[in-house]
């Protein structure tokens, strides 16, 4: 529901004086700002007739970028051709900013009077064959001045394409189509990516079930760490035992004891010759095993932390 009546109405002509507007206003366009034709067309609806307007006005309008509007008046159609840029420039020139522009109407659809009325010092409005026309003052005898108070506006307002002169409608539609195509492509990609994410999540769940993993990755990492530590210490133990048992001891050299307790591997020998100690040290170093050795009484000790 519109409350157009509550807004101030301004009649806009290129000869109108400049005005100051601080609130939203409805604008009625003077016939000097548009082309109008009363037509009888072999179509029922205004939307069908609108398609024919560019060719109907082709020979009438001067060069420019025009928009068209049409409405039905009885059995006839009232058709308009207008230049958005010309109207917008005139609106701006008269001191009305685009943000203060509520609705824009044609004088043809809004004004109805008998005889002629004066719109400014030089021009008058009159009706001829149902078409509102602009005439110099001296040509007709005016019955009064234009009064816009108590005027009830129709529903035949137009929207002005503010950037229509920069990019024409066809280019706008092309750009729109490209943007729309891009949006569709991106959203298809987005859908595929989401599907892949969902697929990976279910694969992960399947893997958890198949391998009987624990509920959280934290628990599984802890389990892995536990078993890796076991594997590492068992490998070191086997390397240490292999190094000790592969020693070629002399007849007076004996391995008396091997112990593993709290991840400490130790071997107790009878006194070893320097050659045997060197041989053992070399083997342990080759296997990258860190060790400690010491001689206590008549025994030689080797200690390895696993």
């Amino acid at each position: 529901m519109k409350f157009n009546q509550k807004k101030r109405v301004i009649f806009l002509d290129s000869n109108s004086p400049k005005i100051t507007v601080k609130e939203k206003v409805n604008i009625i366009l003077s016939p000097s700002l548009y082309w109008v034709k009363r037509l009888t067309l072999p179509v029922k609806h205004a939307r069908d007739a609108k398609k024919l307007l560019p060719s109907i006005f082709e020979d009438t309008v001067s060069d420019g970028n025009y928009n068209y509007s049409i409405y039905k008046d009885g059995d006839e159609f009232i058709a308009f051709a207008y230049d958005d840029k010309l109207i917008l420039d005139t609106i701006e020139e008269k001191g009305i900013s685009a943000s203060n522009m509520a609705n824009v109407y044609f004088a043809q659809s809004e004004l109805e009077f008998e005889g002629a009325i004066k719109i400014n010092e030089t021009q008058s409005l009159t009706t001829k064959d149902g078409i509102l026309i602009l005439l110099p003052c001296c040509w007709v005898q005016e019955s009064g001045h234009l009064s816009l108070e108590n005027l009830t506006l129709s529903k035949h307002s137009i929207s002005l394409a503010q950037f229509g002169h920069i990019v024409d409608s066809k280019s706008l539609y092309k750009i729109g189509a490209v943007l729309l195509a891009l949006i569709i492509l991106i959203n298809i990609e987005l859908f595929i990516t989401s599907q892949k994410v969902d697929e990976l999540v279910s694969l992960k769940e399947e893997l958890f079930e198949k391998e009987k993993l624990q509920a959280t990755m934290f628990q599984n990492k802890a389990t892995l760490s536990k078993y890796e530590k076991i594997h590492s210490s068992q490998s070191k133990l086997r390397d240490a035992i292999a190094s000790v048992l592969s020693l070629r001891l002399k007849s007076d050299e004996k391995l008396k004891e091997i112990t593993l307790k709290n991840k400490n591997f130790s071997a107790r020998f009878s006194p070893l010759s320097e050659i045997t100690i060197k041989q053992l040290t070399k083997k342990l170093n080759e296997n990258k095993i860190k060790f400690k050795s010491e001689k206590k009484g008549d025994s030689w000790y080797l200690e390895i932390v696993l």
Binding site: N103, K155, S157, I158, S159, A161, Q162, F163, S169, L172, Y173, I175, G176, L179, L180, L182, I183, I186, N187, E189, L190, T193, S194, K196, V197, L200, V201, L203, K204, L207, F208, E211, L213, M217, N220, K221, T223, L224, Y227, E228, I230, H231, Q234, L237, R238, I241, A242, K254, L255, K256, E257, I258, T259, L260, K261, F265
Partner: protein, 135 residues
């Protein structure tokens, strides 16, 4: 009826396009994260399953130990077996060199989690033996 300004539609399309771009970027990052997470889970699963089968399979460890201890070369050593909740202990007060070689060869070549070991030379031919295996 007022016509919708094509510029407004254009702006709306650009906003939707930007939003779609951002959503796609987030979704791609999510996919990469999910891929990395899956690979990591797969690696952990393979390692955990493998290591568990080797060191944590109580049933398999018991079975293979039984096989080893039933070897004829070890029967004379009277190896005592004590089952615990967390593992098993093997001990022999006196074992000859040959039996020790045979037992150690089998146990060290197998995948047992040996947590305690004590081999003490008693005489040139005899040793005492204690071992704890955990699962």
């Amino acid at each position: 009826m007022n016509r919708i300004n094509p510029l407004h539609i254009g702006i709306l399309l650009i906003v939707i396009l930007l939003f779609s771009f951002v959503s796609l970027g987030n979704s791609k990052a999510q996919l990469k994260e999910a891929e990395n997470e899956y690979k990591l889970t797969e690696q952990i699963a393979t390692k955990v399953t493998g290591l568990k089968a080797v060191y944590g399979n109580k049933k398999e460890i018991k079975k293979s130990l039984k096989r080893v201890l039933n070897l004829s070369s070890l029967r004379a050593s009277k190896i005592e077996q004590k089952m615990k909740k967390s593992g098993v202990t093997l001990s022999s007060q006196s074992m000859d060199k040959k039996a020790l070689n045979s037992l150690m060869g089998k146990l060290l070549n197998g995948s047992y989690n040996i947590t305690m070991l004590k081999i003490k030379k008693l005489s040139p031919e005899k040793v005492s033996f204690d071992m704890e295996i955990k699962w």
